[in-house]
């Protein structure tokens, strides 16, 4: 294959597709990093909330709701779910010494339940959702489906919105303060318990919106939560727990590594490479690229 051919058929598409996949991973990891960074809670059931978002889109879509509406509706519907989980379950183990371990185990149990419930309600088979836009654009001989471009745009918009809210609004300041020093913030009159619940709900609804956006690409089935979980955790760790920009950069970086590595070596080795990158960071720069949200 000639050089031009290579770039046109292989390299460029790889990079662009890696970008679309990267946006997907960033959205999932974003919720996780917020929950971990702000609440210091390990949410092993994050993947299942991603699945819940996709299934919600599936059922509402079948009921006739327009896809564009779903992008906003599903995360809103997931907020009460997140608040419920946080108040009823996470709060109880939050104050123990082994918060990380207990939240990890608790959410692990939760993930088993959610996955099985999804299977019970929707059956084990796969479902698909039609993308709202079809067709593909041809840029310099590289084919890029329109929906993926849209995904990159919407994903970027969501990330910017979240970053704006967290770093530039008063609400965001309150949330960061509560993460940094809970007692001090409480003494300033902030209802910290609700802030925590709300933050968890935010993280969970981000997973949900990722589920909606990705459903037309990756289809909907009960075990879909497991697809992303290790990659999402890797992104969170490499990017730095709680760092939004870290999640973005790490997400794009790791997916590019994965996409480009599969060009040179057998794809089955890309997982170990991603994992190896995570391990390397943990060993040599454990705070990741950008450290914690509360301690920016």
């Amino acid at each position: 294959m000639g050089m031009i051919d290579y770039i046109q058929f292989v390299l460029a598409p790889q990079v662009i597709n890696g970008l679309a996949l990267g946006t997907a991973v960033v959205l999932v990891a974003l919720g996780l990093t917020i929950i971990f960074g702000l609440l210091d809670v390990i949410n092993m059931s994050h993947g299942e909330f991603y699945a819940v978002g996709a299934f919600a889109a599936l059922s509402l879509g079948v009921a006739g709701v327009n896809f564009w509406v779903l992008i906003a509706l599903v995360p809103i519907l997931m907020i009460p779910l997140g608040i419920l989980v946080e108040r009823l379950l996470i709060q109880r183990v939050f104050d123990g010494k082994d918060r990380h371990v207990s939240t990890l185990l608790l959410t692990l149990g939760l993930s088993l339940i959610i996955e099985d419930l999804l299977k019970a309600v929707f059956g084990p088979n796969t479902h698909s959702i039609q993308a709202p836009v079809t067709g593909a654009l041809e840029l310099f001989g590289v084919i890029v489906p329109n929906y993926r471009l849209l995904l990159i745009v919407i994903g970027a918009a969501i990330v910017c919105m979240i970053a704006f809210v967290i770093y530039r609004t008063r609400l965001g300041a309150v949330v960061r303060a509560a993460a940094f020093d809970r007692n001090m913030t409480a003494s300033l009159g902030v209802p910290v318990a609700w802030v925590y619940a709300g933050t968890f709900a935010l993280g969970v609804s981000l997973a949900g919106v990722a589920g909606v956006l990705l459903a037309p690409l990756y289809s909907v089935f009960p075990t879909m939560g497991r697809d992303f979980i290790l990659l999402a955790f890797s992104v969170v760790i490499v990017g730095g727990m709680g760092s939004i920009w870290g999640a973005v950069i790490a997400g794009i970086f790791l997916t590019q590594v994965q996409a480009l590595a599969s060009l040179v070596i057998s794809p089955v080795w890309t997982d170990p490479i991603v994992f190896g990158t995570m391990v390397a960071f943990l060993m040599f720069r454990p705070q990741g690229l950008f450290g914690r949200l509360g301690h920016a």
Binding site: V10, K119, D271
Partner: protein
């Protein structure tokens, strides 16, 4: 604690009672270890349905040698460790006479070995790994469904005849089964003078296949072969379609790639898909029409490959037991060897040398979500040589 499946056995029993048949002696128990939960639950369900329909029909007609058939189900979760545990329970505690239902090849092999150790016979109706009746064959394991080699031979025969000179690009899942199915396809294709211009192996459960499309496009194929399955199929075909690669390209693949479990999700991208399969609900024969009608009446949906093969198994067992005059393992084994019987797919014969059923294979093409039959390949052309050396 009566479970739902025992409930079904109860219903069968009551149904049999109601049809004023008097059953002499105790019933014949058939254990079914099949995935009822987990990723393969969608396959376990048609297996169960096919067996239940056959059992009901057999019991309504007097049972096997005047003994009623009772099915006992256990969930194997598609995990060989669980399958073996449940199978052992069925052999030792429920004392079943015969066992079937296994779906993935790991489970079939492990349960087959257990059957040997318990001196009981087992059969699979779904697993299509060639090794099960090939190099890992067992004197206690039978297979009534077509194996990968038969599917592949049927398909390459059709491609050679209908589309000579095609340029095929193969996309296989990166694990043992995937690699061997692609290798078998390439060999068969070469024999039929069809060129394979490229191949790529994708990790199982890949979300995004777009990273491989560059290679596909660069080879400029007119046919794409794939042996992915389940969710992977939905994603692969959906994404191929999304990128416009399917335009003007013929998609072919293994029969497990698009099944009744995922065809709805694959949607329009499945249009025109061709495969070599052991069954299609549209087979135009009186046995099949009767089977499809009965299946629809009982389960409100069309039968598929797994249901048909499972249904056929029970009749094979019936024929063998009646021929042997007993359920004793050695006698039934002898009776099964070389047995020919009628199934919705036509006549099947179990080859004595490796316990593999031989049948005519159908070329199935998907049109508007239906599995149309566009060709047929005779049994002997489809089945390969007997490579079983253990007995």
């Amino acid at each position: 604690m009566r479970n739902i499946r025992h409930g079904i056995a109860q219903v069968l029993f009551l149904g049999a009672l109601a049809s004023t048949q008097s059953f002499a002696q105790e019933s014949i128990k058939i254990g079914v270890v099949t995935p009822l939960s987990g990723t393969y639950a969608g396959v376990g369900q048609p297996v169960r349905w096919g067996l239940e329909l056959a059992a009901q029909e057999i019991n309504d007609a007097g049972g096997i040698g005047k003994r009623k058939v009772v099915l006992i189900f256990e969930d194997e979760e598609a995990n060989p460790s669980v399958a073996v545990q449940k199978a052992e329970r069925l052999f030792q505690v429920e004392k079943v006479d015969f066992l079937t239902g296994m779906v993935n090849s790991g489970s079939t092999l492990a349960v087959g070995q257990l059957g040997e150790r318990n001196n009981k016979l087992v059969s699979t109706t779904v697993s299509f790994a060639d090794s099960i009746t090939g190099d890992k064959c067992s004197p206690n394991v039978f297979r009534v469904n077509a194996r990968a080699e038969q599917q592949s031979n049927a398909l390459t025969y059709w491609i050679g005849k209908e589309r000579p000179g095609s340029r095929v690009f193969a996309i296989g899942p990166d694990y043992e089964m995937g690699r061997s199915s692609v290798a078998a396809f390439k060999a068969g294709a070469a024999k039929n003078k069809v060129e394979t211009v490229g191949e790529v192996f994708v990790p199982l459960d890949s979300k995004d296949y777009s990273q491989f499309f560059g290679q596909v496009r660069a080879s400029r194929p007119d046919t794409i072969y794939t042996s992915v399955a389940g969710n992977d199929t939905v994603r692969l075909l959906g994404q191929l379609n999304e990128f416009g690669i399917l335009r003007g390209v013929q998609i072919v693949g293994s029969s497990g790639t698009i099944t009744s479990q995922n065809i709805a999700a694959v949607g329009k991208a499945s249009e025109g898909y061709v495969t070599g399969s052991g069954y299609s609900p549209k087979i135009d024969s009186p046995e099949n029409k009767k089977f499809v009608a009965a299946f629809r009446a009982m389960f409100k949906t069309d039968p598929d490959l797994f249901a048909a093969d499972s249904y056929g198994l029970l009749y094979a067992y019936k024929a063998a037991v009646e021929k042997a005059g007993s359920v004793e393992t050695d006698k039934v084994r002898e009776a099964l060897r070389g047995l020919s019987w009628q199934t919705p797919q036509g006549q099947k014969t179990i080859r004595a040398g490796d316990h593999q059923a031989s049948q005519s294979m159908y070329i199935v093409k998907i049109k508007e979500g239906q599995f149309d039959v566009v060709g047929q390949v005779p049994a002997d052309d489809a089945i390969g040589p007997d490579v079983c050396a253990r007995f």
